[in-house]
Symmetry: D2
């Protein structure tokens, strides 16, 4: 009664694990027409991909992604490799008629992303980008509250993504686990890695951005490169701040850094509307902060909503445990798979697809352009 969806996974790192876990877990908690089948895993290192496949129960392995995307028994390609490989793989997968689930950011830049959009739209293959934070129940709830009009006119959107793991100047760049510090592989630093998440959520919750003004900084100018063995210039942005305007007239204040001592993955956002405000924080992802000015003034205050009510009110939570028992980071991926599979069944695709994710790419282009030119930049609209 359940239809299999054969997954071909490319990559075996952090995201490879997170997605695999989601594929395995989703079918027990969500009652869906499709069930993912871990058909094949692919990476250049035969030994490593074999170990990965054994661990997760992938039925087979490949060492050449070109072979994988040509396999008849694969329905969907999951791209979990560094950013500079997304486009080529996606184009080939689309050409072979495969569905594509691509890690974020979609591409190295807007034009490259546009090519990917063109490819999947031409091939008419279902496609999705793993901006997983939309599926944290508290964030999904925020979307619902906004769509219900509870906030009224929006004045401010503020987001930050703060980490502290690259402060040491002894940390090298490049290679397994550190490709995010290598400009050639990553295309950008915290902007593409962290701000991309903040932007995706913001565009979803608050609509398109019109213009932005950004600055970037690279605190550690040189690091040993793992691929060359030499000390090389660091090409990525270590920190990025930008301000701007959304098309709805609200102001944007965004910041990201890997030099904020004490913060590990502090993605936060806050939205201030005429009638109500919302705030969220990845370090306590199961909570949503909500202030409603319409409350009786005597008892008005920020509400700390423990987004664990399984009575149907809190998104996704009827699938899990009982009220008060929190889920974690990994479940955002499980939810995204569930929505993707649901979209296949209903024909109402889960977002963000490539086109939707392209919007974030153009904001990133505007950020890097603005920072380079030290002036305001218009955001190219999709």
């Amino acid at each position: 009664m359940h239809k299999p969806l054969n997954i071909g996974m490319i990559g075996y790192g952090f995201m490879g694990r997170a997605h695999s876990n989601a594929y395995k877990q989703v079918s027990q908690f969500f009652n869906l027409a499709y069930r993912p089948v871990l058909k094949a895993a692919c990476a250049r290192d035969a030994g490593k991909i074999k170990a990965f496949a054994d661990n997760w129960g992938y039925e087979s392995t490949e060492t050449d992604w070109r072979k994988l995307v040509e396999r008849k028994d694969i329905d969907a390609i999951d791209i979990c490799v560094p950013n500079n490989l997304h486009c080529e793989i996606a184009l080939a997968a689309a050409a072979n008629g495969k569905m594509i689930l691509c890690e974020k950011p979609l591409a190295m830049n807007g034009p490259e992303g546009q090519k990917m959009v063109d490819a999947v739209e031409k091939a008419k293959v279902p496609n999705m980008v793993w901006y997983n934070y939309r599926r944290v129940p508290a964030v999904t709830l925020a979307k619902k509250l906004i769509d219900e009009g509870r906030l009224g006119k929006i004045f401010h959107y503020r987001a930050k993504f703060l980490q502290d793991w690259t402060i040491s100047a002894d940390l090298p760049q490049g290679g397994q686990g550190l490709w995010r510090l290598d400009i050639a592989a990553a295309g950008a630093g915290v902007s593409g890695d962290l701000l991309a998440h903040c932007i995706d959520t913001a565009l979803w919750l608050n609509g398109d951005m019109a213009s932005i003004n950004a600055m970037t900084e690279t605190f550690v100018k040189e690091r040993k490169h793992n691929l060359t063995g030499k000390v090389e210039k660091v090409g990525i942005d270590d920190a990025c701040i930008f301000m701007g305007r959304f098309k709805n007239g609200s102001l944007a204040n965004f910041e990201s850094t890997r030099y904020a001592r004490g913060h590990k993955a502090l993605y936060t956002f806050e939205i201030n509307g005429e009638k109500a405000s919302i705030a969220w924080d990845l370090h306590d992802l199961h909570r949503l902060q909500y202030f409603d000015h319409r409350d009786d003034s005597k008892v008005r205050g920020w509400r700390s909503i423990h987004v664990t009510d399984n009575g149907g009110d809190h998104p996704y939570m009827d699938k899990w445990w009982v009220p008060g028992l929190q889920i974690g980071y990994e479940h955002s991926f499980t939810h995204q798979v569930a929505d993707f599979l649901e979209g296949l069944a209903t024909g109402n695709p889960a977002m963000p697809d490539f086109r939707d994710a392209l919007r974030t790419q153009y904001v990133l282009d505007a950020i890097l352009g603005s920072a380079q030119d030290s002036k305001w930049a218009e955001v190219k609209q999709v």
Copy 2:
């Protein structure tokens, strides 16, 4: 146009300062018929009381409280001396027709307190006990919410008062600043000192207690005594826990200790009702936590109410600054003076008066009796 109220202060310690500050500050922030005048300060040590009087602007000093209570130019006696002196002074003050403002706890025990009640009622003098926490705006707001029926039937009342300043076994007992550790001066340990506050608030917010079951502990059995210079047995309770039943059927869980590392003055209470709950915490005294089950379930959560709205909704706050700007501990005394003076003017006395405070005394008697007998005790009703 303002009537003077001549204050005769006995004592110059922590409470002597807190009350003096309140007398000085109240008239600038509250528009009242009466204005306190710092007429005389009294203590056995002539030099110390002179310095105190000079600092605070008391017009004169006395070294014998008997003389003070007989002075014609004194309207009200403020008793800020150790507990074992409250009764004798109060009786003399009442006999001389003085109003009395007595530090808490009212007395060493219930029967002594009853004598004090009889004295002030016979003399028909205004009287009040300094259970100041009723006048923290967040606590006063809690009272309002309860009186409005927002909580519905009450199931639970929980209170704690946790400190950590007597953990060191090297701390002596007795004398200036340490009389609270001396059973002869204090009459009890944390029960009379800290739980008395918790009980006063509870009786005010939740009505009388019916029965209780208590345990006490003295962790450090002997301490050097400052008055004798010898190591002597410690007579006070270092910690006290009790459970019990209020007359309205709700359950009580109370605890106090001076051995809770990390807590300086953590007086907390929480009340769980059928429809709503309330929680408060002295370490952030300007906030009230409120949960209302009638809220739309999607956005239901504990509200953190910043009790600083000067629009008239938050008790006392229209007298101070602007929304968002917190007041502190000392202002609870200022409010209590204001209410006392208001009560003089209106004839509607500020609570707790001696009779009201006697209720707490009988709960304390039940606690110590229960702990000694290791069994349930009924609370004598006033």
Copy 3:
């Protein structure tokens, strides 16, 4: 290279799901000699257990647990049925040489639990009780800190488990999902259900309890019974408070209720030691609060430890994601399975086994006895 461990699951409710999820997930995140195999699931209702088995991938089903415990292809029996069935099943499983993983509480009371201990020890079968909260990383970290002596002499242990789901008098008792309200099936109310968790953690962290003094309350006296269709007396305790003494001299203050409006699963504990204190809260289970008096006084404060550091310092977290990314409730079960499997391999059994869990049973007996007799009760030691 991995040895299969064939699981026979009895039950398909909340815990049946939680354990099944753990069995499925553990092998991908922990590299262990044994791998659980979902061999058979058992329940009286053939249709329901078939659906459950299909969903989770159990290879077969049974409708009679007696058949299951006799099957040769089953290595371990997991008991996820109401408390009144634990003993009989465990005795049969032990007699058949099966390992046993039993949901908490172990038994209906101490003597019944003793029979179960005798049975598994006689049969020499590995056995464990699902007190899962020991395996929340923050709680495991608390244990480490205590074992390192960071707290010094302990003065206070405080725990609460507060819920609010039974406030409505319209809620019936008995049957699927509501057997916890039925005295015949549950044996006790919040004491056996919720306090059992608090007690297990406490005995683990702070050693045995010596004596206790308890009170219980049943707020709603009668409820419709789902099994009889009639309104019947409620036999369980809706709320339970107890105070007591641990054998190490520290004082206990415990409370549990299902009438604390606003709290869904608020299990909290706090331990105050001479040098440091620890606090934890199930509603933010990925955090541990820690206060260390040895810190430089200028910067001394409660530390909010985000227990997500995968560098090896935070228990279990090296198996999951990257720092800052929280896991949830369900992972406590995954960790418990991992430790059970590790114990099988090393011969150093994971705790609590039946004997260890029997200690909690005797504390529960003392609680209910004390509450009934309204007096102090000694705790029977194991």
Copy 4:
């Protein structure tokens, strides 16, 4: 033994009250050579200033500030009037040899501020600007921690000041209580009013700023003007965001608005250094958040420091109550008076004096210039 310091107060609004309270309270809590004497209060409205003087105990009144600054019996002029009057009064006061305590911001702009600096320096009169937040104990503690080198190299400084009181389009501009919305009286909107505080603290804690890039927004374009009775264009900035660089290489991210629903006076700052980070929040002003990377990683976390330790470690707190008992907003002014008086006695003037406060003025000029020109601006150095 105490020397009187005769105060001439100009203004009677929010700040007139706050300063008066500080003058009255300081001498009882701080043992200083000088004691403020409330000599005269001045405002154009004779009735209002008489009532103000009566309430606070000012000995006399004036209706023309020119007369006040010429009075021989006045030692110090306190300027608590709208920004557009600061300069003229200060110049006259300096010319008459008066000490000056001026409300913030110092001036309408940098050049005007420079004139004021020149005047007081030429006249050699003690002078100070009321940037009171430096004297919140938690903020002063932050300064101490930074000066001790605990944070190491600074990477980020982030500050916000969020309010929500002008969201309603019905609110008029201009006149008593609303001059802050009138560009003629205020000179700027949230930048001069709120960001000025953030900037003063930042320059104090983190040194000078080099360059900034700002944007401003006026959400409500027209408001009724109280002085003209007509609907007029709103000239102030309702919101202002800027990013920039400090001279020490750290990045700045600042924001202020009066359109952040749910925030009353949420002034927050956070500083991220190589070794440690600090955060503070005006809504809980008695707490400082501190993260020290040098802590043992197992127990590393953000510390919530309750800055109420009277043992001498926490700035100013030895003057007040006992540990755990918080002070409030008003005490920052009391501390500033104390420091000013101490500075008079020691000859080591309390900061910020006019010259120090001029630095903030030039940052404000750069902000408004940058926002107008939509480009980066260099900050003029003092």
